[in-house]
C-alpha cells in the first residue's frame, strides 16, 4: 500500500475504533479531502469529520478545549507552513498544558504535510520538525516508512501528549522504502523526512562500491533514538541545518563519543520555486555520496543523479 493509502486507513481506523476521535480542518470534508486521505472517514463518519473555516490559531486552541473535555481531535493542515498561523496556541497553551497542569494527560493530534516538488515554493515547502520539537511538551512524529504510518497515529492518539504528525508529500505514492539492513554497517546515513529516498539510492550506489551505508530515518523526532554504534555518521535533512535537527543529532553522537560526524541540508534561504533552483536546493543522492566519501576518506563516483519521486509527482499541489 502507498503512504497515502496507509494514512487514509489509519485515519479511518482511528475514527472507527474510538468514538471520541474527531477530524477537523480546512478541506477535510471537501471533494478532494486532503489528497484523498480524509474522504473515507468523511463518508463513513460525517458527524466526526468537520470542515472548518481557516481561523487556525483559534481552532488550535479549540482543539485543546475539546481535548480537555475528553474528545480526541486530529486537526489537519494541507501544509506545514500553515502552522505558523497557529503558533501561539501550539506553543503557549497546548505545548505547555500538560507540564503546567500537574501532568494532566490529553489527546490532541495536529497533522500537516511537508510539501516538495513541482515548485511548491517558499510558503508550501517548509519542514518545521526542529522548530516544533524544540517546545517541551509538544511531540513531533515524522513517519517516512509507509509501514510506520499506522503505528505513528496509534502512538499519537494514545500517548497523552499533544503530538504533531508530519507527512512528507513527496512520499505519498511510495509503497516501501528500498534500503538494506546491515549488521555491521561502515557508516550511518541518518535522515529526517523525504531525504530518506535520496539516502536509500545513495546507499545502493555505495554498496556497489563495497560500502555498507545504513540508512537510519528518524521518525520520532522528539524521542530521537540514535544508533548506539559509533561508526561514522552523516545526517541529512530537508529542514535547515542552522540550530536544526541535524545539529541535535550531531551533538548527541558527539556526547556518546562519536567524532566522525557530518551533516548536509539545504542552503539557509527560503525555498525557491523555479525548477532550476529547487533541484539544487535539496540534498541529492550525489551530495550524500560525496559527503559519505569524505567521511570515510574514499572515492565513490555517483551514478546518474536521479531525483527520486519527482517522476511520479506532476503537481499541482
Amino acid at each position: 500500500m502507498t503512504y497515502r493509502t496507509e494514512v487514509t486507513k489509519a485515519l479511518t481506523n482511528t475514527l472507527q475504533n474510538d468514538p471520541k476521535a474527531l477530524i477537523l480542518g480546512e478541506g477535510v470534508a471537501d471533494p478532494k479531502g486532503i489528497f484523498g486521505t480524509t474522504l473515507e472517514a468523511a463518508t463513513r463518519f460525517p458527524d466526526r469529520v468537520m470542515e472548518t473555516p481557516l481561523s487556525e490559531n483559534m481552532l488550535t486552541g479549540a482543539c485543546l478545549g475539546l481535548a480537555l473535555e475528553g474528545w480526541k481531535p486530529i486537526y489537519v493542515h494541507a501544509r506545514c507552513d500553515l502552522l505558523m498561523t497557529a503558533m501561539e496556541n501550539m506553543v503557549n497553551t497546548t505545548g505547555q498544558w500538560r507540564q503546567v497542569h500537574q501532568d494532566r494527560p490529553f489527546t490532541m493530534v495536529i497533522r500537516a504535510l511537508v510539501g516538495r516538488g513541482w515548485g511548491q515554493g517558499p510558503n508550501h515547502s517548509q519542514a518545521f520538525h526542529a522548530m516544533f520539537a524544540h517546545i517541551p511538551g509538544l511531540r513531533v512524529l515524522y513517519p517516512v516508512d509507509p509501514a510506520s504510518v499506522a503505528s505513528s497515529y496509534e502512538d499519537a492518539m494514545s500517548c497523552g501528549w499533544p503530538t504533531l504528525v508530519l507527512e512528507p508529500r513527496r512520499l505519498y505514492e511510495v509503497e516501501e522504502l528500498d534500503y538494506a539492513r546491515f549488521d555491521n554497517p561502515d557508516v550511518h546515513i541518518i535522515t529526517f523526512g523525504d531525504v530518506v529516498l535520496d539516502a536509500s539510492q545513495a546507499a545502493q550506489t555505495l554498496e556497489r562500491s563495497g560500502i555498507k551505508a545504513q540508512v537510519y530515518p528518524i521518525e520520532d523526532v522528539s524521542a530521537m533514538n540514535l544508533p548506539e554504534s559509533n561508526v561514522p555518521a552523516l545526517v541529512a535533512d530537508t529542514g535547515h541545518l542552522f540550530l536544526g535537527a541535524a545539529a541535535e543529532v550531531m551533538a548527541r553522537l558527539m556526547e556518546q563519543g562519536n567524532t566522525k560526524v557530518k551533516r548536509i541540508g539545504p542552503p539557509f534561504t527560503a525555498m525557491p520555486t523555479s525548477t532550476a533552483l529547487e533541484r539544487d536546493w535539496y540534498p541529492t543522492q550525489s551530495n550524500i555520496i560525496e559527503a559519505v566519501s569524505g567521511l570515510l576518506d574514499v572515492s565513490v563516483r555517483p551514478l546518474e543523479p536521479v531525483e527520486a519521486g519527482e517522476a511520479e509527482f506532476k503537481g499541482p499541489f
Partner: protein, 302 residues
C-alpha cells in the same frame, strides 16, 4: 425571582478580602513571587455573571483570574498556595497567579496571552454541543482581547455553528496603561458583535443587572455580554498607579466612590454581613497560614 444579594456579597467579599490580603502581604513578606493582576473593583462583573451559570458550566479566564476562579468555586487554599509557589498550589507551583485552574469546579484554566482563553472556550462549547449535555462554556476576557484575531475567529465560528458559548467582556478601559481610545475606533464593543449574535452591555455597579443580562446571554447560543467595570489598582502588582499619569487620581477616586460592594452589603441584614465577613476573614487567614506551612515542590530533574 429576586436577586440573591446574600450570595453575591459572600462571593464579592471573599474575592475583595483575599486580594486586600495579597496587597498587604505582597511586598511586606515577598513570598508571592509571581506577576499578580488584582481584580479589586471588578468583582461584581465576575460574580454577577457567574451566578447566572450552572455549576456544570465550564469557564476560562485571563491573567486577571482570581475573581473568576473564586466565584466559580475554585479552592481558596490551592490558590493562595499557588501564589506562594508551593506544592499544594493548584498547579503545584508551575503556573502561579496567571494560570489558576480547578477543573473540579469547572474552572478549566487561565492563561496570560490575550485571546487564548477564548479559543479554548470554543473547544469546550464544541464538546458540549457534541455531547448534548446542555452545558455552556464561558470565556472571560478584557476589552483588549477584542483586538486579537482569536476573538474574531471565535465570534465567526460560534455564530456559524450556534455554539453554546458565552463571551463575557469585562471592559475596564485599559490595556496595561493604554486607554481603549488609543486601541479601538469609537463606538461600543457590543455593537460591533451584534451582527453575529445576541449582544448586550451592562454596568457592573448594578450586579442584579449583570446577573439578569448574563442569564439571557447564557441561553443565547452564542451570546456576547460587555460589562463596564473598573480596576482600582495597577495593571500588575498591589499598588495604585495614578503616578504613572495614564489616568488621574481623581478618576480612580471617583470610581472607588461608586464601588459596588457597599451597595450590595446594604441590601442584606447587618449582622448577616458581619458574619459573612468574619467567616471569610477566618478562611483567608487560614489559607495564608496553610500556604506558609506547605512544602516546596520537588526540583525538576535536568
Amino acid at each position: 425571582m429576586s436577586f440573591d444579594y446574600e450570595q453575591a456579597y459572600q462571593w464579592m467579599y471573599l474575592i475583595r478580602h483575599t486580594e486586600e490580603e495579597i496587597v498587604d502581604r505582597y511586598h511586606k513578606f515577598e513570598q508571592m513571587r509571581c506577576p499578580t493582576h488584582l481584580s479589586i473593583g471588578q468583582e461584581a462583573a465576575a460574580v454577577g455573571a457567574m451566578m447566572a451559570l450552572s455549576p456544570e458550566d465550564h469557564i476560562y479566564s485571563t491573567h486577571r483570574c482570581h475573581a473568576h476562579y473564586l466565584a466559580k468555586g475554585g479552592d481558596l487554599n490551592a490558590m493562595i498556595a499557588e501564589l506562594h509557589g508551593k506544592a499544594t498550589g493548584c498547579t503545584g507551583g508551575w503556573g502561579g497567579s496567571m494560570h489558576l485552574v480547578d477543573e473540579s469546579a469547572g474552572m478549566m484554566g487561565a492563561m496570560p496571552v490575550v485571546g487564548d482563553y477564548i479559543s479554548l472556550a470554543i473547544g469546550s462549547a464544541m464538546a458540549f454541543k457534541l455531547d448534548g449535555s446542555g452545558r455552556v462554556a464561558v470565556a472571560f476576557f478584557g476589552d483588549a482581547a477584542v483586538e486579537t484575531g482569536q476573538f474574531w475567529e471565535a465570534v465567526n465560528y460560534a455564530a456559524l455553528k450556534k455554539l453554546p458559548v458565552m463571551f463575557v467582556c469585562e471592559n475596564n478601559q485599559y490595556a496595561t496603561a493604554t486607554h481603549i481610545s488609543e486601541r479601538q475606533p469609537a463606538g461600543e464593543i457590543y455593537q460591533r458583535v451584534k451582527p453575529f449574535m445576541w449582544s448586550a452591555h451592562v454596568e457592573d455597579n448594578d450586579i442584579a443587572a449583570v446577573f439578569e443580562a448574563a442569564k439571557e446571554c447564557r441561553s443565547a447560543n452564542p451570546g456576547f455580554l460587555e460589562i463596564e467595570t473598573y480596576r482600582y489598582r495597577e495593571h500588575v502588582g498591589p499598588n495604585y498607579d495614578w503616578d504613572l499619569g495614564y489616568r488621574t487620581e481623581a478618576e480612580v477616586v471617583e470610581r472607588i466612590a461608586q464601588d459596588p460592594l457597599p451597595s450590595v452589603r446594604e441590601k442584606i441584614e447587618g449582622s448577616l454581613a458581619t458574619k459573612i465577613e468574619t467567616d471569610v476573614q477566618r478562611q483567608v487567614a487560614a489559607a495564608f497560614d496553610a500556604a506558609d506551612a506547605a512544602p516546596w515542590p520537588e526540583a525538576v530533574l535536568r
